[in-house]
Amino acid sequence: MNEFLQQILNGLAIGSVYTLVALGLTVVFGILGIAHFAHGSLAMFGGYLTFVFSTSMGLSFFASIAMAMPVGAVMGMLIERLAYRPVRDAPHINAFIIALGLTMMLEGGNLLLFGADQVIIQTPYQQVFDFGGIFVAQLRMVVIVTAVTLVAVVTLLLLKTKTGKSVRAVAQNRHAAVLMGVNVNFVSSVVFAISSALGVAAGALIGALLALAPGVGESFAVKGFAVLILGGLGSLPGAILGGLVLGVSESLAAGFLSSAYKDVISFLIMILVLLVMPQGLMGKK
């Protein structure tokens, strides 16, 4: 029982990172219909930036993230304006190809700027708590709490503010929203800003809990898409639930089946869901 609970707890921390990544992907996909594959690499850039702020400027972990998030938001808006907007009305495949190209550019940029060695963001949260045999690392708790907070903030933003209302309107029906006077260009920028800010936070958490290195961003982007499919494309609650489910499933599969298949689990789940429940756990039919 102990082992089972420990695996679940371990999985929740990774799962909350998946949720953050997926949230960034789902807002862009759900509202703008773009499969923003480059999100993973942008998240990595945000993580590296957080590392630079915390080491060269001596800022605390959260202060560094707070400084990196606006930078990420601006980069996201630039990407939207320069890379995706020109193909907004073209076939979706064009946007996907651009996303792939962007991924390569960002990965290359990260490699040039930050090198190939792995980078770990040091944090002061190094304690470990023992609850009767179940060990909880303080850092994992911090990751979960941070992710939950950010998700709550974004949800409030989308549900309670006027901007959020405009965003939801575009998600429901873009043409009608235009007719109602919503500035779609503004909404696109806002969506990318939110998505990229979330991505930066996810990257920073990955950098603190695990490590930033070439290739890590892409694998998180793929897992992010698996979560989207699991939770339902465009569904926020779906991204939240899906992320946690994926994290815990990976942990349980590696712990009780085989560690060699840890990554395979995410793909298996994707395939199963697409076969049995194509709209995802919380998607609309």
Binding site: N10, I120, F135, L252, G255, F256, S258, S259, D263
Partner: protein, 406 residues
């Protein structure tokens, strides 16, 4: 050029005829370094290439290689194989066909090296392998292939004996088990452990890119091992050591990872690393080796402005092996004759690594394999400390190697 008079012509002819008798002729001998100079393997390949250059410069400064009446000055050319088998094949082909290289050194990485080993027997060349640990490279017994680095399972057996002596009987293994030589290390380790009645209770895997090994470690924790063995690349291994502490897995941790203090401290604190063992070839460990090693370390730092990596001397020693073999053979023209000289060569006095002699005090055994000593290192207060040598029997291993093909 117009010969003004027959006298000038005669003078020229006479002086040309006299030259060889006045001083020995000098030739340039090209050494081809084939290694991973870029990409993931460069951490091993680049330092090897540097070491070869350093050795060549030293030899040239001391007058070159004197074989018979010819003095050879070494010229080093490097070729990048990116630790990729296809690139390695092309790279060596170019060295042999285009650059007429007969003497190939370097070879840090197993995948690319194995690809070259698969065709080198047919070539008029001599191949000296460095850091690549895959056993099959020398198990095949190719006459013109020699390796300065011992196969991984040679170290694995020694490690198994050591851990068994420490009293462990239920060991859980976690490692990069899809990589051939790590599995070979574990298999050899297991054999020794079984001899004293111990067993391996789990074999969990992780990949080069993995950073979260808590599921595997949680599973291992549930099995209640009395020790864990971590085999794999330093970057993920560091996470294993940290996460083991975070999960309350308080048993002795043995490893086969190599890696400098800086590489570990990026991920795990010194307190969390305290007591971790690394059971590997002694390689370049100043306190375990002699004055040769100290000189190598100092010269390398001066020449390249960085410290030498622990495995770089495998390539440095290759050059001195060649030097001594060519001098013994009397000429560098016939790669086959030089190979025969290498086979019976005693350990060169210039060698940095500590080699264990084979039959007839030869450096290499029947399969062209040399054996360096193995050591037990322990993390003590922020540094890797050499504790003792691991009991290793290279003669027994050599017999075993002769009996297999891979």
């Amino acid at each position: 050029m117009k010969f003004k008079t027959p006298l000038t012509l005669a003078a020229l002819v006479i002086s040309a005829a006299l030259s060889p008798a006045v001083h020995a002729s000098e030739e340039v001998l090209v050494l081809g370094v084939n290694d991973a100079l870029t990409g993931g393997g460069a951490v091993y390949g680049l330092p090897q290439a540097n070491a070869v250059q350093m050795a060549a410069d030293e030899i040239n400064a001391a007058g070159g290689i004197k074989a018979g009446s010819i003095t050879y000055k070494l010229k080093v050319i490097t070729s990048d194989d990116k630790a990729n088998p296809t690139e390695a094949t092309n790279s060596v082909r170019k060295l042999i066909d285009r650059d007429n290289v007969k003497y190939l050194v370097g070879f840090c990485c197993s995948g690319s090296t194995s690809a070259v080993a698969s065709f080198i027997a047919k070539e008029d060349a001599l191949m000296l392998v460095g850091n690549a640990a895959e056993r099959a490279i020398t198990a095949q017994g190719i006459p013109n292939v020699f390796r300065t680095r011992p196969p991984a399972d040679f170290t694995g057996s020694a490690a198994g004996t050591f851990v068994a002596q420490k009293g462990a009987r239920n060991v859980a293994v976690i490692g990069a088990l899809e990589v051939g030589f790590y599995t070979q290390y574990v298999d050899a380790f297991e054999k020794e452990l079984n001899k004293v009645g111990g067993k391996i209770i789990a074999k969990e895997a992780f990949g080069l890119r993995d950073r979260d090994m808590t599921p595997q470690l949680t599973k291992i924790r549930g099995l209640k091992p009395d020790a864990i063995l971590v085999v794999g690349y330093v970057e993920p291994a560091a996470f294993v050591y940290r996460q083991a502490v975070e999960l309350g897995l308080n048993v002795p941790r043995y490893g086969f990872t190599s890696g400098s203090e800086e590489q570990f401290l990026k991920v795990v604190t010194s307190a969390q690393m305290e007591g971790v063992w690394d059971l590997r070839p002694t390689e370049l460990t100043i306190e375990a080796l002699g004055p040769q090693a100290k000189a190598y370390d100092a010269n390398y730092r001066k020449k390249f402005n960085q410290s030498p990596t622990p495995s770089s001397p495998y390539a440095y020693d290759q050059v001195y092996v060649l030097k001594n073999a060519i001098e013994r053979a009397g000429s560098a023209k016939d790669a086959k004759k030089v190979a025969e000289a290498v086979r019976t060569l005693p350990i060169p006095k210039e060698a940095v690594m500590k080699y264990m002699a084979n039959d007839g005090s030869a450096m290499f055994d029947q399969n062209g394999q040399a054996y360096t000593s193995n050591g037990a290192f322990q993390w003590q207060k922020g540094k890797w400390v050499f504790v003792s040598e691991l009991p290793s029997d290279n003669k027994a291993y050599s017999q075993f190697l002769r009996s297999i093909r891979k």
